[in-house]
């Protein structure tokens, strides 16, 4: 009874069916809504905090097989380094005799510069040399026998004339003692003799001149002319030969920029016409940051890894190091090259002669560093010893300095 009395006092209890309905609605719907709400929040939390799916890498990134190592980027190059052949002389390219990829031997002609003008000059020079030689031969052929005989005959004639005049004078003098001659007859005969004698002397001199032929002094002048003309011919032939660019070593043609009809300029800064190099074996030039250089050891094993396409690594062996630390160049493709830091360059050789890489290709290189084997560089020794905490303080200024000094060196 008391319970029902209390029931009756509820404000909504005057109409029990309606109230029951409301009670049911509240009893059922509200808890359901509340549970739905809590579940919704749990769903939201789960959905919004799900870990991102990791996309599989297109190509697995390059990883080092060595624990303690130095990493650098390397560029493949011929063991002869790249030979960038220029035109030996300026002029139009007449003919290209080789193809890209072709192997050539030392001295083999590669391309020819237009030679027409020089060929024409050579003809003239050769003619001049021929003329000079002809003159020399002509001079050497003197005296000619006919001329000599002629002069001899002339000399004989004049001597005969002297004797004739002398005979007549002698005969007159013999008569003259008998007084059977005119007074002017005698001098006339004397003059005749003198005249004939001087003519004989002249003819004798002429004979002597002809007999001597060409004088040695004159001959030397002509010989010098011949030598000059021949030298000119030789010079033009050398020029002609210079128009042919030849391979300086046994090598492979890597790139041809020369095409028939193009103008090739010679001289410093002129365009490269042909690039060649000896690909047997292939080398790789590795850049190592100057800050890592002290950890480098030429005893360590090394591999070079391809960057894209497919994952492949090739063992390489140490050849030499470039003693000068150089500014690293980043080719920007713009009109300025950016110089960021300095690098130690090392030359390594591909151990396998058939590696599928080409000169100019960029590879990642990992070099096993000596670790406990000891630093090869006496300069590096003080740094290598305290590897632990104290070493941090003295070396901490290096990156800042490098950052500040690099642009100065670069520019």
């Amino acid at each position: 009874m008391p319970q029902s009395a209390i029931e009756l006092r509820f404000p909504a209890s005057h109409s029990p069916p309606t109230q029951a309905l409301i009670m049911n609605w509240k009893f059922i719907a509200l808890p359901i809504l509340a549970v739905v709400g809590i579940v919704a929040s749990a769903y939201t939390v789960a959905k919004q905090n799900a870990a991102m799916p990791a996309p599989p890498p297109m190509v697995p990134p390059v990883a080092s097989p060595y624990g303690d190592r130095v990493s650098g980027s390397g560029i493949v190059e011929p063991s002869s380094e790249l030979i960038e052949l220029g035109a030996p002389v300026s002029g139009l390219i007449e003919e290209v005799l080789v193809k890209e990829g072709q192997c050539v031997v030392k001295g083999q002609p590669l391309f020819i510069i237009d030679r027409r003008a020089l060929t024409a000059q050579a003809a003239g020079a050769e003619a001049r040399a021929f003329a000079a030689e002809a003159r020399l031969a002509q001079s050497r052929s003197l005296p000619k026998p006919e001329t000599l005989k002629q002069a001899q005959a002339r000399a004989d004639q004049t001597r005969a004339a002297v004797r004739d005049a002398q005979g007549r004078l002698d005969r007159l003098r013999a008569i003259g003692e008998a007084g059977a001659m005119s007074h002017n007859e005698l001098p006339t005969r004397e003059y005749e003799v003198a005249n004939a004698e001087s003519k004989a002397a002249e003819a004798e001199a002429s004979l002597e001149f002809v007999r001597k032929g060409t004088y040695p002094e004159d001959l030397r002048v002509i010989e010098a002319d011949v030598a000059t003309a021949k030298a000119e011919v030789g010079m033009i032939h050398t020029e002609l030969d210079r128009c042919i660019a030849r391979a300086p070593i046994d090598a492979q043609i890597l790139r041809i920029d020369a095409r028939p009809g193009q103008y090739a300029a010679a001289g410093p800064g002129a365009k490269t016409q042909m690039t060649l190099g000896d690909l047997d074996p292939l080398y790789i030039r590795v850049d190592i940051d100057e800050l890592d250089a002290w950890r480098f050891s030429d005893k360590g094993k090394a591999i070079a890894s391809l960057r894209g396409g497919r994952q492949a690594s090739f063992p390489v062996s140490f050849v030499r190091r470039v003693p000068l630390v150089l500014p690293k160049k980043t080719l920007s493709g713009e009109n300025a090259e950016r110089i960021d830091t300095r690098v130690l360059q090392l030359i390594y050789m591909f151990e396998d002669p058939n590696v599928p890489v080409a000169p100019g290709q960029l590879l990642d290189v990992f070099i096993e560093s000596a670790g406990d084997a000891g630093a090869p560089d006496p300069v590096a020794a003080p740094v290598t010893v305290p590897v632990t905490a104290p070493a941090v303080a003295p070396t901490s200024s290096i990156p800042d300095n490098a950052a500040e000094t690099a642009p100065d060196h670069g520019n």
């Binding site: 009893f27 509340a34 709400g37 990791a54 130095v70 642009p407």
Partner: protein
């Protein structure tokens, strides 16, 4: 007896809904504002979440947050690769560049340049096209939000201010006078600065960027198998003297920057506190009044022999029921709002902490107001009920 307590609670419709509304509203305000705050903050490190492959992020030591790029020397990559325990290390470029759109408009874009070979850093969820398009020359990948909004193109080219359509694959942008062809569209997490993000390869990104001596923004590092990430972090930091972060550290560094350098936490803190006060004021007050109104029933029960402890249990039950219903409804509305509004309109992220904090606030409100109510029930003299 418990049924009576529940009936008592549900029966007084006005007060019941008042209590429910107050608690729901407090839950809604607290959870909603906290979720938006967390959502905003999580956008600041979206790039880190998009790149789960990286165990460690190496940056310049002066970098304060993800978007604060301070490029390093290019050889830093090789130095990091030289550290023992590094599985792989790849470069990442990040920078803001101005893009010229096909319509001629200009738009600042966030350009991310990923390692040319592995393409690590490209978003996983491609909507159109494939990641491998980046192998084609001049190709870029954009994200859906940018394609729909800032990079959208006018339908009628003659009317550049008219209605717009999303930019499509095959269209070309110009980045610093260089051609950039859209090859793919990806779905990414929204970023805090909300500028369109362009993904391309590292070498191409450097080509797009104006000439700088230093271009390497970050290095992503994966530890070799079996190497402890934290040990590797310390070792890289020691050997290269660069800043090295785990993804969590980097995210927290970024969040800390925004929390300490902006007024965002104060604004949201005030909103959350207001929600809490509203809850206390409305629901607590209602609940107390409700108990006062029903004192006569408690008196009757006491007179019929119910112990005080039993009555207090009833009050606690009423409070718990109201609290659970209010919390559930509030969280439900919050979640529905958060799920319904698209992510590029509202930064909303509910972590498990938020429902827990909201529940704690509701429990506090309910417990506090119940305690006041209980005081009256304890002091109640059954004879009072029958005097009136």
């Amino acid at each position: 007896m418990r049924t009576i307590a529940i009936k008592m609670l549900f029966g007084d419709t006005a007060k019941f809904y008042g209590i429910l509304l107050g608690l729901s509203f407090a839950t809604l305000l607290i959870a909603q504002q906290a979720s938006i705050f967390v959502g905003l903050m999580s956008r600041t490190y979206a790039l880190i979440e998009e790149t789960p492959q990286a165990d460690l992020w190496v940056t310049d030591p002066t970098m304060q947050f993800v978007d604060d790029t301070k490029p390093m020397q290019v050889t830093a990559l090789q130095r990091v690769r030289s550290v023992d325990g590094v599985g792989w290390a790849v470069p990442l470029f990040k920078g803001l560049l101005v893009a010229k759109l096909p319509s001629g408009a200009r738009q600042i874009c966030d350009v991310v340049g990923v390692d040319d070979a592995s393409l690590i850093g490209v978003p996983a969820r491609m909507i159109k096209g494939d990641v491998s398009v980046l192998r084609k020359p001049d190709t870029i990948i954009i994200e859906t939000r940018g394609a729909r909004s800032r990079l959208a193109q006018p339908i009628n080219p003659a009317n550049p201010t008219g209605p717009k359509r999303p930019i499509e694959i095959g269209e070309e942008l110009e980045l610093n006078e260089r051609r950039a062809v859209i090859g793919g569209i990806a779905e990414t997490k929204p970023t805090f600065q909300n500028v369109p993000t362009i993904y391309t390869t590292y070498s191409r990104a450097i080509g797009f960027a104006p000439a700088n001596r230093r271009t390497l923004s970050m290095i992503l590092v994966k530890a070799a198998p079996g190497v402890s990430v934290t040990e590797l972090r310390d070792r890289i930091a020691r050997e290269t003297e660069l800043a090295v972060y785990t993804p969590d550290d980097f995210a927290w560094t970024t969040i800390t920057y925004w929390m300490t350098q902006t007024g965002i936490p104060i604004n949201f803190g005030i909103a959350i506190a207001l929600g809490f006060l509203v809850g206390v004021a409305i629901a607590g007050q209602m609940f107390y009044n409700f108990t006062l109104d029903n004192l006569k029933y408690f008196g009757a029960m006491k007179a019929m022999g119910a112990t005080t402890a039993r009555l207090l249990g009833l009050v606690a039950l009423q409070g718990a029921v109201a609290g659970v219903l209010g919390l559930g409804l509030g969280l439900g509305v919050t979640s529905i709002v958060g799920l319904a509004i698209p992510g590029d309109k509202l930064a909303f992220k509910m972590t498990w902490h938020i429902p827990v904090i909201a529940a704690a606030a509701v429990i506090f409100i309910v417990v506090a107001s119940s305690l006041f109510s209980m005081r009256r029930v304890v002091k109640l003299d059954p004879s009072e009920v029958f005097q009136g």
